[in-house]
Amino acid sequence: MIQAILDAVSLGGVYALAALGLGLVFGVMRLVNFAHAELITVASYTLVMTHQFPLVVSMVLSVVVASLMALLMELLAYRRLRGSNPATMLIVSFGVSVLLQKIYELVFGALPRSASVATGLTGTFTVGGVSITTASVVTIVLAVVILLAMGYLIERTKLGLQLRAAASDFQTARLLGVRSNRLIASAFVISGALAAVVAFVNVVGNPQVDPRFGLDITILALVGIVVGGMNSLRGSALGGFIVGAVLSLLNVILGNGRVYAYSWMFVIVIVILLVRPGGILSKFATKERV
């Protein structure tokens, strides 16, 4: 029971981080970056391929690689689309996602690559007679630390203020001197770094990395930002958490029906888009901005 709750919180934490990465980029350019999945995947490959290095080195490398990849995406593809219709941007990011999957397939092969990363985290320990997996506790701690750090960055720093301003009205932010290229690049770099964190906790739990490794979690994080509200970073993170936690609990509660948990999630998404496009947290339905 306690393990179930811990699992729910830790999965929620992971999805909150993934959703925050998506939400940051959406905020500054109205782009739902489907290829966020491939940032998670490339960070995971980095962790697996460098497993013989000290863990810290390997983690830093994965952050660097994912951030660079995010920066490249922005520079080579998304920059040309600024101000385009969000649906066009969505399908381009879908294309970028498939493109990268195919490149990973060519480079790393279609079969999973695996290596034990951070073996110290795979065990269980006992507290007061209850057995608990180390991974779930580490995930929760990591997610809390990163979310607090992100909270500080967004609420208390100049960069964060610019990100919030740009998310609500990019044009006006530029009129005040906010440098659009630099700000968007920063958002991508941060989302890459968040993808690397997500990759780390996932690889620890399941070190079988294939070209589609990041896909499921990204689709669910996307569900999360719709649920929480795409226009607010806090909403995105919270939506991600809700999706992760609910999914984890549904797995326990639904029993045999748990295989349909995804369907319920998607149905919820459609309903929210219809009745409350601003997310469940929004006080009123907001219109999509062009």
């Binding site: 301003a165 609500s168 006006t172 932010a173 009129l175 005040l176 001197g177």
Partner: protein
């Protein structure tokens, strides 16, 4: 000393042309008005100056430097600020956060504290509501915030698009008094107004914009002459 010079500006959106060769200048300490009916191209003119609307031809000089076709963020960093139509404050952010964002466009990063102090002196109400959400302010207070947010960047040229929109007459008078004070402190101020009489009496020069062209330019004295104003505004031919 000419701070802003617009030369034969042509601009538009997509295939539609809106401005057909507009020229004007504004000097240090001067207050310039631009009036004209709906759809005359007033906001487009400002958009073309600050870089949010693409130029077809013509050029814009800020204190002698050609800024035509530069990006909005680079233009504001050179000392030209716009208070956009409808104020466009960040209603979800606090008053001080809005002002802090305004500091982004400053060239001189040392004077930030002083700049904030100056606008707090000019608009005391903003000090009172420092940490409140900007969206909770009244219309007049929001307009003051929008002007203050532009001022903290220490602009040499300040453009205001319809500053009177949605404000009561007393508040309008209050806002315009401050704009006069801002101009007197050495900033070139250019105001777009649909309600012509608000600016014609204050501005050194008022350009009447109609159908994308400057149809007439009036001085303060001309503006006092009602017939002349009406003729300039609506055109002589009665089209």
């Amino acid at each position: 000393m000419t701070l802003l010079e617009v030369r034969d500006l042509r601009a538009g959106y997509g295939k539609v042309d809106v401005l057909f060769g507009v020229s004007l200048t504004a000097s240090k300490g001067e207050l310039i008005g631009i009036v004209g009916p709906n759809g005359a191209g007033k906001s487009t003119l400002f958009g073309a100056i600050v870089g949010t609307v693409g130029l077809r031809s013509g050029s814009v000089f800020l204190d002698g430097e050609d800024i035509s076709g530069k990006r909005p963020e680079d233009i504001v960093r050179r000392g030209l600020s716009l208070v956009p139509e409808g104020r466009q404050i960040f209603s979800g952010l606090s008053v001080i956060e809005n002002l802090t964002l305004g500091l982004t466009g400053r060239r001189d990063k040392h004077g930030e504290k002083g700049a904030l102090d100056r606008v707090h002196d000019l608009f005391p109400v903003l000090t009172t509501h420092r940490d409140h959400q900007a969206g909770m302010l009244s219309g007049g207070q929001q307009q003051q915030l929008a002007i203050a947010r532009a001022l903290v960047a220490d602009p040499r040229v300040l453009l205001l698009d319809e500053p009177s929109l949605g404000l009561s007459p007393t508040v309008v008078k209050d806002v315009f008094d401050r704009l006069i004070a801002i101009a007197q402190s050495g900033t070139a101020v250019v105001i777009v107004e649909q309600r012509a009489h608000l600016v014609t009496r204050l501005a050194e020069q008022t350009h009447v914009l109609r159908a994308g062209k400057v149809q007439a330019t009036l001085t303060k004295e001309d503006a006092a002459d009602e017939a002349k104003l009406t003729a300039a505004y609506f055109g002589n031919s009665g089209e």
